[in-house]
């Protein structure tokens, strides 16, 4: 175990979460959601999930079923910033594929994009890039969300500007 202290603190917190939700409606989803928030990278680590399974008696395969079904659960560490490119039909016809490629070029992760991965995080853990099937904002296509703010009629230039702002502001020491 590489981080024994943080882990055991996390596990203790899970104990509390499990106890709190016991018997409540939607127990499992509640437990998983709060467990995810415990993690500084906002994801469900294998350790955490295994522990939830031991505490709740829900088989691991079943937990995996649940966390892969709902898109708000993450199984990999999340970057500090999130970029979500809409890949719905309307956005697609307005060039969202190109926008996605641009994100790849700007952040230096074109390779992952070519592999068709729909979610990945840059190695420096600064950005998580994902796609959605549709934001429901088709009139504003193409749409890109950056840190949960939706930007409409997105263009390469606008994208570059926004990402540039974030990069400068949030530079890590």
């Amino acid at each position: 175990m590489d981080r024994p202290q943080t882990l055991s603190r996390e596990l203790q917190a899970i104990d509390t979460i499990v106890a709190k939700h016991k018997g409540r409606h939607g127990e499992l989803l509640g437990i998983l959601e709060e467990t995810q928030l415990l993690n500084e990278h906002k994801f469900l680590s294998e350790e955490a999930l295994t522990y939830v399974s031991l505490k709740t008696g829900v088989p691991l395969s079943k937990l995996y079923n649940v966390v892969t079904f709902y898109s708000f659960f993450n199984l990999v560490p999340q970057g500090e910033h999130t970029i979500t490119v809409c890949r719905g039909t309307a956005c697609h016809t307005k060039g969202s594929r190109t926008l996605l490629n641009d994100v790849g070029l700007i952040l230096g992760c074109s390779k992952e994009l070519q592999n068709g991965e729909s979610f990945f995080t840059t190695p420096d853990q600064r950005f998580s890039i994902s796609t959605v099937a549709c934001f429901g904002q088709c009139a504003l296509a193409p749409v890109v969300a950056i840190d949960e703010v939706i930007y409409s009629n997105m263009t390469t230039a606008k994208l570059q500007k926004q990402l540039g702002k974030i990069s400068k502001k949030g530079k890590r020491p």
Binding site: M1, L7, S8, L11, E46, E47, T50, Y51, S53, L54, P59, L60, S61, K62, L63, Y64, N65, T68, F69, L75, G116
Partner: protein, 598 residues
């Protein structure tokens, strides 16, 4: 009992059926066949394939008959051009993402998808592939999963959770990404899967199959430097005929032996010999535990899926397991020591192949501790670890043996019956019934009773432990003490028994646990399909074989007596301890590095 009946009309004909049954069931009662694919009686109704569609008068869309219940006055059409088109389209949609690998697929000729596609007249590929190709899961020594061939019927998930209470697999993702997964895609070999193969037994396609070892066995048979012996488990003789096109439950011991000789095995032996040996060891272990206040109840240990289950889920109760190895492993250890010495051949040149109704046996043979013959010889002969060999080299399932027979062009039903070779081919009726749930218990009681009381049994049939009930109980009087025993099959029932033990509430002295429904005759390596009707037929054949054996108690097997006299000396003795007994591991419940932590 549901006595309220409703009147429905199927294809214009009236039929009275109980309320609350499905359309599918109603039609079957009325003698009308509706094609189905994902549905499997007693196992699952996931209603995912849309093959069982019927027209219901007044309904806007076609209805899935496997989940729709009948109601008073319902009018149905089960066969029409519209239905054929709809059913066919649904199968074509499944096929769009299905590799057309039939020619090289283990389920070729025994595949429900292939059959239904043929029956519905699928002729061309109308739809394009929408799913990503996935790599097969090769992490387990027993089974191979190929997600690409999966039609998401959910049968495997249902069996693994409802029958086995293991839940090693479940659906994951959603929409087009839906698939069957192990936890975090770790693969069956890295999660708490018992390798029971019940998932493979119910899978309609080639998406979960046994890990095929036929090529390695053909290779050994073709190698003139090797002395290749084969052992066959009890349940194989009531399964292999079925796999070769004969009636369900056909008892074909003699033909099986003849077929194995044709394949070129140097000796054709019987795992039943080792089953008699197991009874000698296990019976004495039980008596010792009772008289020396050892850990009770003692639980049988011949079913490797059950062993792995206990190691994962009940690691603190392993002391209840008999230390006896399974008959397969006892056979290997005896063949490569006693028998090799008797013949004067180098045990390194001996290849032991077993034919089993079981996929978990493949993994059992490769447990690291199953090299006791090598350990036995190595010091005397100054061998190094490079010479190491397993007690059992290859494990074939009944289905694999059938493939070997077929591939060599054997006319199986026409073979003249032949006898096993001796000495490791002789067995009693007690060993035959090892293949059915309750059989090990009955065999053990036949011997234990006579050893303890010194009296002959008047009736050797312990019928209370026979039959397909999930958990059975019996009491036996021995020298004034009442010994309570229990028999359970499926891991779900095993779990109940174990929970009772862990609560300190188990009233039993001895328990037989088998992983698969019905015992080994319903094993994960048996012919497909295996239904309850078929299981019962296989069981009947085993009990019939037992009844007609001249010797029916393990301790009466003359070759077992000789083995003790010449080699082992006594049950539970020094040699037995090294060759025939074993230990169990606490296995991490789930993910490896967590075990230490929690």
């Amino acid at each position: 009992m549901d006595t309220i009946t409703v009147t429905i009309k199927i294809n214009g004909k009236e039929l009275k059926v109980p309320q609350s049954i499905t359309i599918l069931e109603a039609c079957r009662r009325g003698g009308i066949e509706i094609p189905t694919l994902c549905f499997l009686e007693d196992v699952s109704k996931n209603a995912s394939c849309g093959v069982c569609l019927v027209e219901v008068k007044g309904a806007r869309s076609l209805m899935r008959s496997c989940i729709t219940c009948v109601y008073e006055g319902m009018e149905l059409v089960t066969h029409s051009a519209r239905l054929r088109e709809a059913r066919k389209t649904n199968v074509e949609l499944l096929l769009a993402n299905h590799p057309k690998d039939c020619l090289t697929c283990l389920r070729n000729g025994n595949c429900e998808l292939q059959t239904i596609a043929g029956e519905l007249g699928v002729k061309d590929e109308r739809f394009v592939r929408t799913k990503k190709l996935e790599l097969p899961d090769l992490t387990s020594l027993s089974l191979v999963r190929d997600q690409n061939k999966c039609i998401l019927c959910g049968r495997c998930v249902a069996v693994c959770s409802n029958v086995q209470s293991v839940s090693a697999i479940d659906f994951s993702g959603r929409g087009i990404k839906t698939k069957i997964s192990t936890y975090m895609e770790k693969g069956l070999g890295n999660v708490a899967c018992t390798y029971c193969g019940q998932c493979a037994l119910v899978c309609p396609t080639g998406a979960i199959v046994e890990r095929d070892e036929t090529e390695s066995v053909f290779e050994a048979l073709g190698n003139p430097d090797k002395f290749v012996v084969v052992q066959t488990a009890p349940a194989v003789r009531v399964g292999i005929g079925e796999a070769m096109g004969m009636d369900a439950g056909s008892l074909v011991t003699g033909q099986m032996v003849a077929g194995l000789r044709r394949l070129g095995f140097n000796r054709v032996f019987d795992t039943q010999f080792a089953a008699d040996l197991t009874i000698m060891e296990e019976g004495h272990e039980l008596i010792k535990r009772i008289t020396h206040k050892g850990v009770l109840p003692m639980i049988t240990s011949c079913s490797p899926g059950w062993i792995k289950f206990a190691e994962h889920f009940f690691p603190n109760s392993l002391a209840h397991l008999s230390t006896c190895k399974s008959p397969q492993q006892m056979f290997g250890a005896v063949a490569k020591t006693y028998y090799a010495a008797k013949l004067g051949i180098d045990p390194r040149k001996m290849v032991v192949v077993s034919v089993m109704p079981c996929t978990a046996k493949k993994y059992e043979a490769k447990r690291p501790e199953m090299m006791s013959a090598f350990e036995y010889w190595k010091d005397n002969r100054a061998w190094s670890d490079d010479d190491a060999f397993y007690d059992v080299d290859h494990v074939l399932t009944t289905r694999e043996l059938a493939r070997m027979f077929t591939e060599t062009g054997m006319q199986f039903p026409a073979l003249e019956p032949e006898e096993f070779d001796n000495p490791l081919g002789e067995s009693t009726g007690a060993a035959v019934i090892f293949g059915a749930t309750g059989g090990v218990m009955e065999a053990a009681l036949r011997t234990a009773y006579e050893v303890v009381t010194g009296k002959a049994l008047t009736d050797i049939n312990f019928t209370a432990v026979r039959g397909m009930e999930g958990i059975k109980e019996a009491s036996v009087e021995m020298n004034g003490t009442t010994v309570k025993v229990a028999v359970a099959h499926t891991l779900k029932n095993a779990r109940r028994i174990l929970e009772q033990i862990e609560k300190g509430e188990s009233p039993y002295a001895f328990i037989e646990l088998m992983t698969c429904p019905g015992g080994c005759l319903g094993g994960g390596g048996q012919p497909i399909p295996t239904t309850w009707d078929i299981r019962k037929k296989r069981a009947e054949s085993l009990y019939a074989e037992d009844a007609q054996k001249p010797l029916r108690k393990s301790h009466e097997n003359p070759h077992i007596a000789a083995l003790y006299e010449e080699f082992l000396k006594e049950p539970l003795g020094e040699v037995s301890h090294h060759l025939l007994h074993t230990e169990y591991d606490k296995r991490p419940m789930l993910v490896k590095h967590m075990a230490a932590e929690v």
